[in-house]
Symmetry: C2
Subunit: 107 residues, 2 copies
Amino acid sequence: MELSSTPEPPYYAVIFTSVLSPDDEGYHEAADRMLELVAATPGFIGVDSARGADRLGITVSYFEDEAAIARWREQPEHAATRARGRERWYDAFEVRVARVERAYRSR
Amino acid sequence: MELSSTPEPPYYAVIFTSVLSPDDEGYHEAADRMLELVAATPGFIGVDSARGADRLGITVSYFEDEAAIARWREQPEHAATRARGRERWYDAFEVRVARVERAYRSR
């Protein structure tokens, strides 16, 4: 597994935390498709994602600026999939939009 | 599993992404101890954490302000454990400090 490479800050992070419902039919295919779509969004930098056995997941997507985040939010297939997620796949979720101010790495 | 509750933005998120080495002796005890310690830090709000079977993990800790992040960074036991993590437990990691500007939830 590789961590995302990101440029020198500032840039933006969309932090998506969720608890996946036990009834997750169709979820994994949709998640794969969303990764494909977000990667095609102008201004997208990268994404890191993890979900543990307790069904709590965190996906952090990195974008160059707020305009890129707006592009992704307004992508029609993404908007439709978010609605399915709210209705069917998640017991709870939260989306946080944050401006990355500094970063340190070791790899 | 419960997601962290956070106040109205702005507040800060420390996004820690890592790839855990297969040789992780002592890691889980240390991680539990760090959760105990961070929760005792003035200005700490909450933490969400997930690690998948591919060993990629994401921990997002929320703090009221930069002063609280500095307090946590300078906590002596935390500093010592970070050094062990760099040397022994992680194949790669990155820490990003970000200011949360807005948030939406469903639960």
